[in-house]
Amino acid sequence: MPPHDTAAGSVPAATVTRAMGDAETTAIRFEGVSRHFGPVIALDRVSFEIRDGEFFSMLGPSGSGKTTSLRLIAGFDFPTAGRITLHGKDVAGVPPFDRDVNTVFQDYALFPHMSVWENVAYGLMVRRMPRRQRREEAARMLAMVKLEGLAERRPGQLSGGQRQRVALARALVNRPSVLLLDEPLGALDLKLREQMQDELKALQRQVGITFIYVTHDQGEALAMSDRVAVFNDGRIEQIGSPRAIYDQPRTAFVAGFVGASNLFDAATAEPLIGEARAFAVRPERIRFLQHGERAGDRAVEANGTVRSVTFLGAHLRAIVALANGDEVKVAVAADQAVEPGSACRIAFDRSAINVLSDAPLGGPAPGEAAR
């Protein structure tokens, strides 16, 4: 199913295309879900849908509510308000061991007193599958995550990356319809992390089930997901495909959290673009105009002075101070000649403008009483 670009998060039920037969293609639906811990509001009236078979990421800084949402789906926590449904069935009061959902934990949570294959086969053991069959299934899972030959080892004897795969195999062996992953790659080094990202993506395609992935690393979310939900402060600010999130951020937070952005508030916007609306522009969409060059009708131009230039290998990052005092980040190719202290003229196309809204998805409009 091709990923949609949606600017709004909750898709009304009527527009969900139903497959032939019975299956509801919405794996998980949150309706007005809140979770309060005393005075602390971890989730504030959040509503969204996750579709069957998609790789869905929940992205945000710590404390934004993404992990809370994950735990609500897994069943370790219950919402203070609102409804959560799993394949159309309300899961209120259903404990984790009754849900068709499995989790890969951040610290892997392997059982130290069991061997690798016993860990992987644990879900089958509690379902009283005979030992021989369990072993075969476990072996098959280990092969899928490329860990054949390690079946008899103990978790303590494995490297971080290997433990992570065991946790993955263990969660998949039950053939859940939904797999939850709680920042699983955080403890790995960069190269290993990138390799695992590719493998996880391929694995999800191969297995075909819904993956729900929690991370604070926006690069990771963009690389792997079909759709991303950006969380901030207990609310979802935007849901959409990686490209939609990146090219058309809805709010200042999304613009700043996903990739880098130059943010302009309503007051400074007026002289620049003729409208008093807050907007953002990516540094790589801004260019330096040569002396005398004009940018064209659909472009916005401004004068400024180059404050600093940083060499970043693949490109240069220049900080330009505009006449009105604002500082703008500009990313240009490394072979451009840009001198700190020199006067310059920058330009960007109108299509690069992302107009920002204040309100997060599903939350109160600006001015409405919050919480």
Binding site: P95, F97, D98, R127, R128, Q133, E136, N174, V207, I209
Partner: protein
């Protein structure tokens, strides 16, 4: 989905364990209650109950004639507690506890210091076992050992003779108040045995808190120009103090209540523990026994409050 022939068996949905688990999961308070009820009932009813019942007797009094307990609340018993003779007993016990605590701190510190800072892992294991084994082996055996050592015909007089130090031994025994006819019938003897018995209680917390002093702090101190002695006084000692106070809680409290050691080794002048024991035994004066018992509890309550301020609870 990967093609596979084996089907995953369905979860047994409604067996009794599972139904109970659902209830427990939905009501975590219930689970907590079930977990804590038995131990709480035991400790609360059996232990606290009997403790309060006993201590409450200090508010009753004894009829002088019949020797029966008069169940009327009064402070008479506390009046009887605060006589000169009884205050003597209390003072004696508290002084001994103080002396023991100070001595043990002095002996324990080098041991703990060495074990914490300079011992290799193997040596640490050795030290640890060397301290733990006496601690957990029989209290009575260890007291008994000292009875042998301090006996009149025992090792110390023999060693003194061999080293021509008999005059020293007799001088020590001649010290007024704390000396005596033999070591085993003097306060000195009692003090030595107390120090010996509680020493491991002092070593362990000190070692633990010394080990918690980050090496980087000591290095920083040296880096900033301080000599070893200064570093010790200004950096290590203050950080080790909670451990010393924690250990002192044990030595002080255990000495306050002990009645066996003074009974076996020492002068015949009684300590609190012995008084309490004789009062509730043959004398049958439970109210006064309870009143006496209140003293070490009160002293320890005050001591613990001070110790908590000094951070000793984190070193336990």
């Amino acid at each position: 989905m990967t093609a596979s022939a084996t089907a995953i068996p369905r979860l047994p949905d409604d067996s009794w364990p599972r139904r109970i688990s659902r209830v427990l999961f939905a009501h975590p308070g219930l689970l907590l209650f079930l977990l804590i009820a038995p131990p709480l009932a035991w400790l609360g009813i059996i232990y606290l109950g009997s403790l309060f019942a006993f201590l409450a007797h200090s508010l009753f009094s004894i009829d002088g004639f019949t020797g029966q307990i008069v169940y009327e609340v009064s402070l008479d018993t506390f009046d009887r507690l605060l006589t000169a003779a009884n205050l003597d007993v209390i003072a004696r016990t508290v002084l001994m506890a103080t002396a023991v605590t100070l001595t043990d701190a002095a002996i324990a510190f080098p041991i703990a210091y060495y074990a914490a800072r300079y011992a290799s892992p193997r040596a640490k294991a050795f030290f640890y076992l060397a301290v733990m084994l006496p601690l957990w082996s029989s209290y009575l055996v260890r007291v008994y050992a000292w009875k042998l050592v301090l006996a009149r015909e025992g090792i110390i007089p023999w060693a003194a003779e061999q080293l021509h130090l008999t005059w020293l031994l007799e001088a020590v025994l001649g010290i007024p108040v704390i000396g005596g006819a033999t070591l085993s019938t003097s306060y000195i003897g009692t003090w030595v045995v107390f120090c010996y018995i509680w020493l491991p209680f002092m070593i362990l917390p000190i070692q633990a808190s010394l080990e918690r002093v980050p090496r980087t702090l000591v290095e920083a101190s040296a880096d900033l120009g301080a000599h070893g002695g200064t570093t010790f006084r200004k950096v290590i000692l203050p950080l080790a103090l909670p451990g010393v106070v924690a250990g002192s809680i044990f030595t002080f409290s255990l000495t306050l209540g002990d009645y066996i050691i003074p009974g076996i080794i020492g002068s015949s002048r009684p300590f609190i523990g012995q008084v309490v024991q004789s009062l509730q035994g043959t004398a049958g004066d439970i109210p006064l026994a309870a009143a006496f018992s209140v003293v070490p509890i009160l002293v320890m309550a005050i001591y613990l409050t001070i110790a908590k301020r000094l951070g000793a609870f984190n070193a336990l």
